[in-house]
Symmetry: C2
């Protein structure tokens, strides 16, 4: 599955226009929800015209896929330890930086990707795109855990991919409940347990 | 905070009418979302009249609070190990039964409570009610963990309340990602890690 729906603009100006549309849509959909965000709102917020929007996207359904891609980009950009070029192997430091990220600026915030989960469920194209985005995030976490295994700080006896599923679930559940209670400690406890659990087990 | 908004009907017939309204609203809101569920839809689905609905609820905002209560009731009723009268102390058995619950009937399903999280965020009354519902669930899990501590199957050195936060986060993140990927194994992995983590630590 391509994680870049819509036309790729060949010019810098075209890319700026497309970016402005996707950014505005992402912000509105994050704040109000997908259903409550109309194309008219997106045009207004991005300062672009209808013909520009329809040049890059077939319609709202297409735009939602581009928004999911953008949110994944934002999520991964905020976690440099998950970059494929990163040599970071300290899972605990990654988890701590995630908590700090949500402390800065008055969080805990809803996860830019996770917030859409209930909203994409009934639309197969959206759901599959959201699932693919989460798989990418999960694979990045699995790679971090595998680096930790190579350094002896993560249990080498267990599967990094399976551990990554549980760690990402802790991130999502932790963020959701932290946001609900407006209490970052909830995220810290959830991540602390997940990170503790992947340590090498005493023989 | 009262977890029973709206008038309590004094007669059995009144209770049936109120129940029919809340059940219909809960099903519709679970399926379509809160924003997309109008009072007209609820009246139609419940076979009740406008005057009956307004006799029990001031309006949609009130009804949402009653729906949250109903979903909490459903969630707790499906987990007998969390009943205050239960003597169950086996956290692993509770987690396994949660997975089976979602296997039966073709799950994984979205959490009846968790599915509302993004949708109640902007409305303080709804959010606080949702937070109170999650606190009740969390306290029931903490009580199960405390019974496990008394039996030596849960780490007695750690706080049952803090462990319950991490366990509930694993339930929520696990359910959300399992539903997204239509893969129950995701829930099993998330819960397995959480349950494993609360075991007594080797000295």
């Amino acid at each position: 599955m391509s994680l870049d729906p819509g036309h790729r603009p060949p010019t810098a100006r075209g890319r700026r226009t497309r970016d402005a549309i996707v950014d505005a849509a992402a912000d509105l959909m994050h704040e109000r929800g997908i259903a409550a965000t109309g194309l008219g709102d997106v045009l207004k917020a991005s300062g672009t015209g209808k013909s520009q929007l329809y040049h890059y996207f077939e319609g709202k359904s297409d735009l939602v896929l581009a928004v999911i891609d953008r949110q994944l980009e934002r999520v991964l950009a905020a976690q440099p330890a998950l970059d494929p070029a990163s040599r970071e192997d300290d899972v605990r430091a990654w988890a701590a930086s995630l908590v700090e990220l949500h402390r800065d600026g008055g969080g805990p915030f809803a996860c830019p990707l996770g917030v859409f989960s209930g909203q994409v469920d009934a639309e197969p194209r959206w759901r599959e795109h959201q699932a693919a985005a989460f798989r990418q995030w999960q694979e990045r976490i699995a790679a971090l855990l595998a680096r930790g295994q190579a350094q002896g700080v993560v249990d080498p006896a267990r599967d990094a991919g399976e551990m990554a599923v549980a760690v990402l679930a802790a991130v999502q559940g932790g963020l959701m409940l932290a946001r609900l209670h407006r209490d970052l400690q909830v995220l810290a406890l959830a991540l602390g347990a997940a990170v503790d659990h992947v340590r090498p087990q005493p023989v």
